[in-house]
Symmetry: C2
Subunit: 229 residues, 2 copies
């Protein structure tokens, strides 16, 4: 029996997707949803066995995730999901605000009515996920909501960085929110949509910052110490 077998939900695999890419996507998805516990080692051979492949593509996928700081290589060459600290958490949230404000500002000129409609539909799905207390779905839809706004800008260099922040926050999100409703005390998405409709930059940036800080971002030092310690 394998020890520490991580929880790796299956995902869609297009026929032309390489093994390495598929493994990468699948691991990424698991980390983003906080399904891999920080600290306990991930082994190449263990994953290869679970995924029914050879170690080669697994190694490459792990390296990619390390480069994005979703995984960490310890000095003894062990691979783990990094542990969160209150200071690192604070840095991640502040950087997330900066990056997403920047992305929103750059995307605003490209926002169409059609896009706002799409975003509105996503917000409805999000409400449903909260209603259902479906945390995985909530995380996914919330990311889609943000992503679909920022990618309106066709010249993308920032989105991969935002995704990297999401990845780094992923493992913590699950730990922090004991229930879904705790994650979304206040929903700022309606304000975001309103700002988009009016092409109001200031309101857009404010509501996005509020959304980030109001989600997991609202956790303060004392709460963090409790959760992380």
């Amino acid at each position: 029996m394998l020890k520490n077998t991580p929880n790796l939900p299956e995902i869609l695999r297009p026929s032309d997707m390489t093994a390495q890419e598929y493994i990468y996507q699948r691991l990424r998805n698991s980390i983003m949803l906080g399904l891999i516990a920080p600290g306990n080692p991930i082994t190449i051979r263990g994953l290869a066995e679970v995924l029914n492949t050879s170690p080669t593509p697994v190694r490459e996928a792990l390296r990619r995730l390390s480069t994005e700081h979703a995984l960490k290589l310890l000095p003894n060459r062990r691979i783990v999901v990094p542990q969160m600290t209150p200071d690192r958490f604070k840095e991640l949230i502040l950087l997330r605000v900066t990056l997403e404000e920047h992305a929103a500002r750059a995307a605003l000129p490209f926002i169409t009515e059609r896009l706002v409609d799409q975003v509105t539909v996503l917000d409805l799905k999000l409400d449903q996920a909260v209603e259902d207390e479906n945390r995985d779905q909530l995380i996914k839809i919330n990311q889609q909501f943000h992503r679909s706004i920022y990618t309106a800008n066709p010249d993308q260099v920032i989105m991969p960085m935002i995704e990297s922040i999401w990845l780094q926050l992923g493992p913590f999100t699950r730990i922090a929110a004991r229930n879904v409703k705790e994650l979304y005390v206040v929903d700022h998405h309606k304000e975001v949509i309103a700002a988009l409709r009016q092409r109001d930059e200031t309101a857009l940036l404010n509501s996005i910052a509020a959304d980030i800080k109001g989600g997991v971002g609202h956790l303060h030092a004392d709460a963090l110490e409790r959760i992380l310690g």
Copy 2:
């Protein structure tokens, strides 16, 4: 004879550095200095032969660089340094300003007199590099200058992202600046140092933004079209 053999200056290799890591660092260095021409394909076997290793560690290094968007995997699986476009360039510069302003703001509380002294020394070295018209040295020292400021903040999540931007701008920097002095029309580093000494946040952010925009960042659409087209 190998075609397209890239220019890969040797770098320091600690005895405990893995082959993969060494290859990664060496390629990274070359890309950062603009020594690998955008567009023409890099082959795994070709690099392995030049570096006297097997394809395995080369592949991993290339994957890491792709993840950082320093390299691009084309649909036909060819690997190249991505081509710059005027729009992408503009996005990269704007994002660089945002990220480095953020990093500088976060680092300011940790700035010590000792650090300012170190930065001052780097600035002198930088002047020397301009004097010598040593472009590679200039690029390296300039990065050290910025890096040493931002890493004063011990909780680092932003530095890797800034490095990724530098990497993406690297190939272009070389093409754009036909001579070193063109790269540094105005030197804003003295202003940065003064702002650091006075712990003046506003002045610090302004001088850093000016430094970025005054370097390669000053190139405007028409100049870019000329260079890139």
